[in-house]
Symmetry: D2
Subunit: 441 residues, 4 copies
Amino acid sequence: MSEFFKNVPKVEYEGPKSKNPLAYKYYDKNRVVGDKTMGEHLKFAMAWWHTLCADGTDMFGVGTANKSFGTSNPMNLAKAKVEAGFEFMDKLGIDYFCFHDRDMAPEGKDIDESNKNLEIISDLVLAKQKDTGKKLLWGTANLFGNPRYMHGAGTSPNADAFAYAAAQVKNALDVTKKLGGSGYTFWGGREGYETLLNTNMGLEQENMARFFKMAIAYADKIGFNEPFYIEPKPKEPTKHQYDFDAATTISFLRKYGLDDRFRLNLEANHATLAQHTFQHEIRVAREEGFFGSIDANQGDTLLGWDTDQFPTNIYDAAFAMYEVLKAGGFTKGGLNFDSKQRRPSFTLEDTAMSFIAGMDTLAVGLLVADEMIKDGRIDSFVDERYASWNSGIGKSIREGKEDFESLAAYASKLGDVENISGRQEMLEGIVNQLILDTLTK
Amino acid sequence: MSEFFKNVPKVEYEGPKSKNPLAYKYYDKNRVVGDKTMGEHLKFAMAWWHTLCADGTDMFGVGTANKSFGTSNPMNLAKAKVEAGFEFMDKLGIDYFCFHDRDMAPEGKDIDESNKNLEIISDLVLAKQKDTGKKLLWGTANLFGNPRYMHGAGTSPNADAFAYAAAQVKNALDVTKKLGGSGYTFWGGREGYETLLNTNMGLEQENMARFFKMAIAYADKIGFNEPFYIEPKPKEPTKHQYDFDAATTISFLRKYGLDDRFRLNLEANHATLAQHTFQHEIRVAREEGFFGSIDANQGDTLLGWDTDQFPTNIYDAAFAMYEVLKAGGFTKGGLNFDSKQRRPSFTLEDTAMSFIAGMDTLAVGLLVADEMIKDGRIDSFVDERYASWNSGIGKSIREGKEDFESLAAYASKLGDVENISGRQEMLEGIVNQLILDTLTK
Amino acid sequence: MSEFFKNVPKVEYEGPKSKNPLAYKYYDKNRVVGDKTMGEHLKFAMAWWHTLCADGTDMFGVGTANKSFGTSNPMNLAKAKVEAGFEFMDKLGIDYFCFHDRDMAPEGKDIDESNKNLEIISDLVLAKQKDTGKKLLWGTANLFGNPRYMHGAGTSPNADAFAYAAAQVKNALDVTKKLGGSGYTFWGGREGYETLLNTNMGLEQENMARFFKMAIAYADKIGFNEPFYIEPKPKEPTKHQYDFDAATTISFLRKYGLDDRFRLNLEANHATLAQHTFQHEIRVAREEGFFGSIDANQGDTLLGWDTDQFPTNIYDAAFAMYEVLKAGGFTKGGLNFDSKQRRPSFTLEDTAMSFIAGMDTLAVGLLVADEMIKDGRIDSFVDERYASWNSGIGKSIREGKEDFESLAAYASKLGDVENISGRQEMLEGIVNQLILDTLTK
Amino acid sequence: MSEFFKNVPKVEYEGPKSKNPLAYKYYDKNRVVGDKTMGEHLKFAMAWWHTLCADGTDMFGVGTANKSFGTSNPMNLAKAKVEAGFEFMDKLGIDYFCFHDRDMAPEGKDIDESNKNLEIISDLVLAKQKDTGKKLLWGTANLFGNPRYMHGAGTSPNADAFAYAAAQVKNALDVTKKLGGSGYTFWGGREGYETLLNTNMGLEQENMARFFKMAIAYADKIGFNEPFYIEPKPKEPTKHQYDFDAATTISFLRKYGLDDRFRLNLEANHATLAQHTFQHEIRVAREEGFFGSIDANQGDTLLGWDTDQFPTNIYDAAFAMYEVLKAGGFTKGGLNFDSKQRRPSFTLEDTAMSFIAGMDTLAVGLLVADEMIKDGRIDSFVDERYASWNSGIGKSIREGKEDFESLAAYASKLGDVENISGRQEMLEGIVNQLILDTLTK
């Protein structure tokens, strides 16, 4: 069997002083943090598409990375990617992967051939899983790349496109179940509009809901009882995507009664494209009960498109992991690296180094988040800040005993309101302390 | 009685060729468009705050416009503003106004004195209304300017601030009812957070819902049966405002069972700050059944703050009015000019010229929108684009007769999907034709 | 000879009432505006790449438009595109085109074969030009698509990439001269950096200047005496491009003594990506003496990437043409449609309709700009606004007769400063009048 | 003498484990880093305006912080601020300050009275400086707050405004010299335009240059030989400011021959408003030879206005300090905290805690930057990346020995270009190591 990542050895934890670019400095899989190991907390997943398919092509240039794995025949390439993918997961010590149907196996001349292709390749994947113990975090179907979806899939003005998409998702669900996936994700890259001048927004959204309901029905039928995820994104490629952000998506799910079965798969770069911090999106999902899984990456807030960079910002990682810990950790979800190496980082070693940078950063994020909670200064500041709601008029309001008239009478006697400082700068200083303390804990 | 806008005559319609800066070129109040006059379609309202209070102060400079109306005593100023406001509405031929409690009457040493001040001034307003027939579109309370609301009002960590806000809204509702207002608006400028580090988002939003429910209960009690509006804005002054945009706000209203009584008051500049077009926000509200009223202004999409410019862009006006017409026109709502003259446009004549520019633009917008519908090319293009949903597989899907299996069987026979062009550029060309045709219709 | 744009007839001017999507409503080539015909004012050019090559591929999907022109062999395709391009120019009545070396002819196995390919195809183009009278506005070389330029061309850390780029530009200059091009453009899509962590900015910019100096020397040697253009863009594909905007580019040109021979080719969408209006960029170039040519398109200011839409906004067109008229009109430059039909506007008819929408819009822009100047209200407002600089202290300052001490003495006697209003809203109202008046002039 | 910051003790270095919010954890003034102490590297300055004047007023609310220092009389307040300012600098151990003329002393009824006010207060400041050894980093004049500057000062259409500004700067220069200032700064908050419709950009920029030349002439006359700084900002309050960013400002300075005497004062938040990283702006200034001084703060890249937050991001601090170290450190310039406490951080203790957070962050930034250089991995990666320019064809190009023809011949033999990876992710991982290592070094 070929070795594809020849210059990538088995990547080990060497500790924070290591200058080996192909070693972990912080991600120590078996280190216990709180009640779980790092490996259990950080359910890292390799995204099939970026890791095995993305070659650095952008809107102004062709690929720079060689991801041909020694062949140009589509089916042979798909098979080689199975080998390469499992080699990579093994070398990096990653336990999960995620796949798109069309990135795992090539599209055929019709849906039947496409399904057949996917069946063949997914059988190989399944065999590999059995050999290695690697698991499928979630599957999805690519409903945005083919011209048939130029106007959307579930929201297409063309009912045939809807039907085709249904066929595709049906099969992707079958394969996801076969591979033991613990979830299924929808990302609606073309579910939205380019211009309102030609768009019936109401019908499109109703149809989308119909599509999701059929997906639930089919999953029930085949006994796929794992969560569905929607992955919000505000735009790109589409001018406006309906699943703009967590709040908008939750609204849609509630409106159409889809809230029992659907959770959110949140991506850092999609959050910032919607002008939210990543932490904000996770917080919203957590507070609303829709937290599911994470697409780990980062954007560049000074750029306006989805750069899908590997996450290397410790702040973002720490705040994200803080929310994850507060949400009770991952159950079915995990941290899928929907990240791609920069176009000029074109070698297969860069693929590995990029994962290392991302995994180390999230490991540090976990340590900082854990320490934020243990240290207690931040959480207790918040508790005290809201203390007025636990007694007196605050408690009475929460218990439903007050109305505008009773409150007006209260306010009339109050004189004025005394506030306490929000102490943002002090809190930001504490976060820096917790980060810098990582190695001394 | 003093005349305040001395250089502003009664502003008349002089037609498109007029070079008189103090005449309407397009807004011809009695001109019939469709089934109503322009005046009936375009229920223009003067915003008390910007028109009578805003003096051009910005974060880097003091006021440039003299809005002292000859006095510096706060209550005398408030009285003078009543005179000035009605003079202005009369001269411009504007039938409605909107007010904030604290912009209409000065805050006193405590809530009782503040209420007393507002009672005195609102009595004068009421008398003026009776004399002139001018009407209150909606009222609101300023729950963001005073330091007591530095952390929010309905979402404050401080229960006393909540209580004080309740007292203030209670009184503002009383005054709105007294003045015959046809709605009441909430804009949550401080209802959000500066940093998640010190924020209990869940509690804050529950409290906000409690606040709104008390407002409904009180309105019911006093027999104020008009709609409540929430005005979404994503940020500014706050880092993040909970009422981010139409979709987010609707989600909140539905979650807490507030959807019967609340509608949206949508502002153009707030839309673009949330990265939406204004048309998008109205479309969302319309499709969801939450369309209420409009804050007419425009932002500068190359700037990142709320510039509240007078609306002079014909495209935006036409697309907004198209949505309004499609929504059946305004019922209780209208077009409130939440717009301020530019800081260097500092004279009282500029106040008038700014309204003229805005009203003329919206009048053109109405004419174009009406013609978009009459011309029919755009609407029929949309109808045809979605025709596949009215028969065959599309109809069957809508009727709930299909599932993933039946659709997969259908797709299997389909071969591939044939799409038709979205024709965006052609449609944009048609819009230009309709605009340029305004004077020849 | 094949006809490629079968459903596109010869596009004629039918006037503003026409509902024929394949007719001009405003662009009347021989209509005289001021001292020239519309055709002379608006030197429209077809961009080879978007018109003949762009198939709707984006980062999330493959092409939707069929631009294969009946063949898949690269050289045959290049030949077919020559036929198709001239057919299109003929049918649309467009007199100019622009080309990239690699979009006109396929890259070969080495530079010699690439040059040979381009020689063959450009011979065909030249023959077509002789037959039809169509002219080359400008040529350019694609120094961004091939992986060899992943780190830049003139700014590459790799001297070999620089050398290769030199070879490529040398040949592109030869071909541009052969085809009688009236200019040569550099767009530095990869001339910048992805991260400062690995970048020697100083050396990169010095090398870029060396590259441009060699280009001038070679042009002089072959007798190519037409202007060079730099086309600024702030980012995309690169994180930061050195030619960020007009001002930055002019600074670079002055610093390195390149200001005699270089002018700017300004693109609307690049302007807005740099947070400038298009008018701003042209104004800067005009005031600094660097106005050259225009890439006609438009962006979406609510999106953060280069959408390259066909220009359909009348305001932007009018303000751009106002600057062009004030600059004395185009000399060597023109209006190159660096615009692509939307991905869902995938038919060849859409290609034509898109050009029609763009050309009509720019024609309206010309008419409005011409009327802005003839009407005189705007220009005379500006003149009066600055009148204080033509006499008294203002004149004295301009004549160099004043210093801080004399001005302090003057200010001391002045009391305070009286300003006049900037009248922005009134001026915006006048612009609307001029637009709406287009058909009645 | 009153103590104003009663709850703020003398702030001492207590080390990284301290939980005392009023102690330094990282800023250890006398710690030696490289060849200087932290105190010498980090020439921190207190900005008079934010520290002593800013009370939390924003566009939607009045002040929350009490900065009245016990008096409401303007001159008494100015005097109290002198006491408060020196108390604060003493308690925090800050050696420098910066001032605006109008924030130090109140504007009088005319320029003479304003000058007199400033003379009185600056005499007090001077006396304090002699007592305490505190130094003036730079002075400036507020040419944006007063309505007389509504259209600009040096770029005003009104020559009287120009003259008045000249008088004001003359006096501010006198005071800056009196107080031993080591620089003088211009920030052109109103030097730009609101709309091009009423703007003569060419004349405005010429006048601005005249203004600066007069400033140089006057400085020479009074023997003020310190650098002038321009502080770029792209917008806000103005729609467009001429000093958009470092590159634009350098262009202006070169064009008008002002480059000998002017350097840049760069602000982090202004950088991001211009879509640049802070590091980018310093790098540009450094490479161009215009690096001068820094306004230390940070913005929020998800917001679109100048938030002037205290700098608490370690990455930004490290990259900024890396550039400062590479530029040879500060000579005349320093780190002026043009930062304001958040509006809800309204107490005087928050003022101190905010400075502590900022100073600690920049101290960490210095340590990381120093280690970036000492560690050497990043710099040597860059050196190797550009190695091709030190020999062979690269060296020959730099020595001016090549032209397009020789390079074409070279390329023809080259075959193709071999690139090496840019290794962005690896480098980002190294930066994280260096940060996390701060406490172990």
